[in-house]
């Protein structure tokens, strides 16, 4: 079994990222995201590939879908004890269906659980309360059960990742059989670390999935700040500070996304000084209070969540990122060709500036999709 834990934190990489979402929340099969990321084959080196799908479990939308890797059965038993001990009931659990493909080897045991919080607990009514309990469970498993790693822990979403080229990982997990309204993907190019299943992207945390091309040079400062807010850095990838910062600012503090982006990739002071008074005071306050959550270093990230997808570059755009729109679909990727591979003639193609947020939200008047009901097509319950 491949070593589960990676020694080296910092993974300078020229990886590939791609994301596709439908702004009316209509779910579509995984083929297009696999085609898109595979076009950027040269940006990966076979040591990591992965996908996140939001809206993928329509039959159990309110259950937390825990995707877990196990290096052995003892890790599985240890995790299942923790799940029970933390007052979660398992509505359903099964191995994640996979396809035999020679190109993906040494797979760990890959299991998924559909969990519901016990109603006896006092925080049963507030979603943040239950979310926080799930967060504690995830941190406890990753920290406490050796050989167990939680790949994702959100509702009606899942991360499917591992060691291999992304297109082979997509084939291995049979993604053509799933449908989702938001897909993100990553092809990894780690240079000084062996790939391992837990270190591949996307990085899943509750409702969020993050793919990250680049490097967080400010990892130490970010980590010190986040640890004061109860987060444990035990996932051997610098991307975790981005996911935890989003969790803290966006889910727990409920800041609007535009401000959260302005914390991660803030405007320069020289630009803030030129702003009209209201904005100047706002951004000065943000940078003063949350200076330790600025993500320094080159990056382009794409984040999926139940409400849609966003993409963001570092402030001086040291990694490539291009976005496009066509009808209800929003695309973002490291290369334009990866978008055109699945959408030959987009209505609009543009290059986001450094620190400029690209966001697609599923519009509230979500169209009822009668045909949606038919879209069982081998959906996995």
């Amino acid at each position: 079994m491949q070593r589960m834990l990676e020694g080296e934190f910092r993974i300078p990489s020229g990886c590939a990222v791609s994301g596709i979402m439908n702004c009316r929340g209509i779910r579509f099969p995984g083929n297009s995201i696999v085609d898109s990321i595979s076009l950027m084959h040269e940006r990966s080196n076979g040591l990591g590939g992965g996908f996140a799908a939001h809206g993928v479990y329509p039959d159990l939308p309110q259950h937390y879908a825990l995707h877990v890797f196990y290096s052995d059965h003892a890790a599985k038993e240890g995790t299942e004890e923790l799940i029970a001990a933390n007052d979660w009931t398992v509505a359903h659990d099964e191995p994640i269906p996979t396809r035999k493909t020679g190109l993906v080897a040494d797979a760990p045991l890959i299991w998924r659980y559909f969990l519901q919080a016990d109603l006896s607990r006092d925080d049963r009514h507030s979603t943040t309360g239950v979310d926080d309990r799930m967060l504690q469970l995830v941190l406890a498993i990753n920290d406490g059960v050796s050989g167990a790693f939680v790949a994702s822990s959100g509702r009606n979403m899942g991360v499917f990742k591992g060691v291999g080229y992304p297109e082979d990982i997509g084939e291995f997990y049979r993604l053509d059989e799933y449908r989702a309204h938001t897909w993100i993907a990553h092809g990894r190019f780690p240079t000084n670390t062996p790939g391992w299943w837990g270190g591949a992207h996307p990085f899943g945390l509750l409702d969020l999935s993050v793919v990250h091309n680049g490097e967080v040079s400010s990892y130490g400062a970010n980590r010190r700040f986040l640890e004061m807010h109860g987060y444990k850095m035990n996932l051997q990838t610098d991307t975790e500070v981005m996911a935890y910062a989003l969790d803290l600012l966006w889910r727990r503090y409920e800041y609007p996304l535009e401000l959260v982006a302005a914390v991660l990739a803030p405007p320069f002071w020289k630009k803030i000084d030129r702003m009209p008074k209201p904005q100047r005071e706002l951004y000065t306050a943000l940078r003063t209070v949350y200076g330790s959550l600025m993500m320094n270093g080159p990056f382009s990230i794409i984040v999926g969540w139940s409400g849609g997808m966003f993409a963001l570059n570092d402030r001086v755009k040291l990694r490539s990122l291009v976005a496009a729109e066509q009808g209800d679909y929003l695309y973002a990727a490291s290369e334009e060709a990866a978008i055109r591979q699945v959408c030959p003639n987009p209505d609009r193609v543009w290059f986001p500036r450094g620190g400029e947020l690209v966001v697609g939200r599923i519009s509230p008047q979500q169209a009822t999709q009668p045909h949606e009901a038919l879209a069982t097509g081998g959906d996995v319950a």
Binding site: V316, K317, S320, E335, E336, A337, F351
Partner: protein, 252 residues
């Protein structure tokens, strides 16, 4: 990826073809004396024309991948579509015409020849362009350009025409030419003081600059069909280095 490629005369179908096979086919045609060829169905294949020393003409239909014409030496390449990152990276000689926009790092350490972009360019266009004796590159961007335009520029001419950008809006938003120590950038006003790198200054156009701008704009309009007169309605200025050795003090 299929390996066999359909080659009839000078047509190459690049659909689903890996870049190394595509570039092998290009070289094979050149060695057989083929002076011009057309590539169709291009999408993401990298290094097209890279490092090739030949006077041949390539017409590329689709979206060529990164490092198009990198280190090319003499090729005439026309692209009907958008280019990606590092177009004309360290190109030495030749002409590259793109009927579309391009990504970041356009003309990265360009050494010679001319590159004409109909639309806009991303960040760091013309980064570390240089010139030497008769090798003087020309880089022309029809639309707007991203930040760090002409960073570390050491020579050559970089012209941004600002089409599609309203007159009051700067054509390059910020960080223009930090570290520039040679060459000439010409772009429309306004060029606000705050957007300049410390090593550069805004100058009025000399008569020679103006003649050069007119000639370049004419070439652009003939190539892409835009009206030179319309382009030159805006007032243009020059951005150039304050001194040839901006870091002199650092090493004094």
């Amino acid at each position: 990826m299929k390996d066999k490629v359909k080659v009839n005369g000078s047509e190459l179908d690049a659909h689903g073809l890996h870049y190394s096979e595509l570039n092998r086919q290009i070289l094979r045609l050149l060695r057989k004396g083929q002076q011009s060829m057309t590539l169709r169905g291009v999408n993401g294949q990298r290094y097209i024309g890279a490092g090739i020393q030949a006077k041949a003409q390539l017409a590329v239909h689709g979206t060529p991948g990164n490092d198009l014409a990198a280190f090319a030496d003499g090729l005439q390449i026309t692209v009907y579509g958008n280019g990606q990152d590092a177009v004309a990276n360290t190109m030495n000689k030749g002409k590259l015409v793109i009927h579309g926009s391009v990504g970041d790092l356009l003309g990265y350490s360009l050494r010679g020849g001319s590159v004409l972009i109909k639309g806009s360019a991303g960040y760091r266009a013309g980064v570390h362009m240089k010139q030497y004796v008769d090798q003087k590159p020309l880089l022309v961007i029809g639309g707007t350009a991203g930040d760090f335009l002409g960073e570390y520029m050491a020579g050559g001419d970089l012209v941004v025409l600002g089409l599609g950008c309203t007159a009051d809006h700067p054509v390059v938003e910020d960080n223009i030419a930090p570290g520039m120590h040679g060459g000439r950038i010409i772009l429309p006003e306004p060029v606000p003081e705050y957007s300049l790198g410390r090593e550069v200054h805004v100058y009025e156009l000399t008569n020679e600059d103006l003649a050069f701008l007119r000639q370049t704009t004419l070439m652009y309009s003939q190539t892409f069909g835009a009206s030179a007169q319309h382009i030159l309605q805006r007032r243009f200025v020059k951005v150039a280095p304050k001194g040839a050795r901006p870091y002199q003090a650092m090493y004094a």
